[in-house]
């Protein structure tokens, strides 16, 4: 029998765990959770974006850019990822 729609998917639950750790400053565990999300669904742009945020927080700018680029390659209209990438590349918002 097929699962009912109300049951949260493993991808969703893992993503929520990642967000929980992120908001509680536990960045190492948050990255582990977001990477688990990507193992379940390699096309999860939000997971790439969140890892990018954590890399940026740790001043790992090149790694952060790579993550934002990955997010944008999956979701072309990902506004906040685009803003973060532009910001790291020194591109003004209105240019």
């Amino acid at each position: 029998m097929a699962k009912t729609k109300e049951v949260p998917s493993q991808e969703y639950e893992t993503m929520e765990m990642g967000k929980f750790y992120f908001l509680n400053n536990n960045f190492a565990e948050a990255v582990a959770q977001f990477e688990s999300v990507l193992k379940i669904n390699p096309a999860n742009a939000e997971a790439y974006y969140n890892i990018g945020l954590i890399k940026e927080s740790a001043n790992k700018i090149e790694e952060a850019k790579a993550m934002y680029l990955q997010a944008l390659s999956i979701k072309k209209d990902y506004k906040i990822a685009s803003e973060k990438l532009n910001n790291l590349m020194g591109i003004e918002k209105d240019e």
């Binding site: 967000k19 992120f22 908001l23 974006y49 969140n50 927080s57 001043n59 700018i61 906040i80």
Partner: protein
């Protein structure tokens, strides 16, 4: 207070940006270039814009350059024009003349002509880029006096979890931490995860340094060099 008056001579990328930025901050800006197209483009953004030859003393005088508090000469392509223009502006009695230079010789000549400040953006940017590549932990560096810098530096791992008083930054390196920039995760108005900078200005000795903190410090260049290598 009356707004200061500026003239920008030479409206290439640099001069154009300087003129527009000054005007956007409410300053009176007189923009000069010999290219009619550029003058047409900038005329809506500055107080006055004139097409004229910057080596024509009478034309420069008639444009009102002598009444300006500061003149920025941003002629990049032709050193001779830049030097002549500097001479003319100085002869008109303008005290504060800032000249953009394209080589060290250019810089030496205009300094001898009495330019108050000479800038060499390409060289300065190259230096900054190299510093950033060689020292990725130093995010920003401003020389405030010879040998003394104000620096934004990623907190060394050795200090993570320690209060400032136990790090020895002050006692061992004679460096003062004037602020800590801390990245704080939050959920933005659109419900997405985001990070924002929290500035802890004048941190107390008991303030703990966290992983990912950025320290804004002031000290001698040599001391900062030592600290960044720990």
């Amino acid at each position: 207070m009356k707004n200061k008056q500026f003239a920008v001579i030479g409206l290439g990328t640099f001069g154009y940006s300087v003129a527009v930025e000054l005007a956007s901050k409410g300053m009176q800006v007189l923009a000069i270039d010999n290219d009619e197209e550029i003058i047409d483009k900038i005329s809506g953004s500055v107080t006055q814009a004139f097409v004229l030859d910057a080596t024509d003393e009478k034309a420069v005088k008639d444009a009102g350059v002598a009444d300006c508090d500061t003149v920025i000469i941003a002629i990049g392509g032709n050193i001779e024009t830049s030097i002549l223009s500097t001479l003319i502006v100085k002869d008109l009695g303008v005290n504060n003349v800032i000249v953009k230079c394209t080589s060290k010789w250019h810089l030496k000549v205009v300094a001898k002509l009495g330019a108050s400040r000479v800038i060499y953006p390409e060289f300065e940017m190259a230096q900054k880029l190299v510093d950033g590549i060689i020292n990725p932990n130093i995010l920003e560096q401003i020389e405030i006096s010879k040998g003394y810098n104000l620096v934004e530096i990623v907190a060394p791992q050795k200090y993570w979890g320690k209060p400032l008083k136990d790090t020895g930054i002050r006692s061992e390196y004679d460096i003062n931490v004037i602020a800590i920039k801390r990245r704080q995760p939050f959920i933005n108005d659109e419900g997405q995860n985001d990070i924002k900078d929290e500035m802890i200005v004048n941190p107390s000795a008991d303030r703990e340094i966290n992983q990912n903190d950025i320290l804004i410090v002031i000290g001698h260049q040599k001391s900062i060099e030592k600290m960044k290598n720990i």
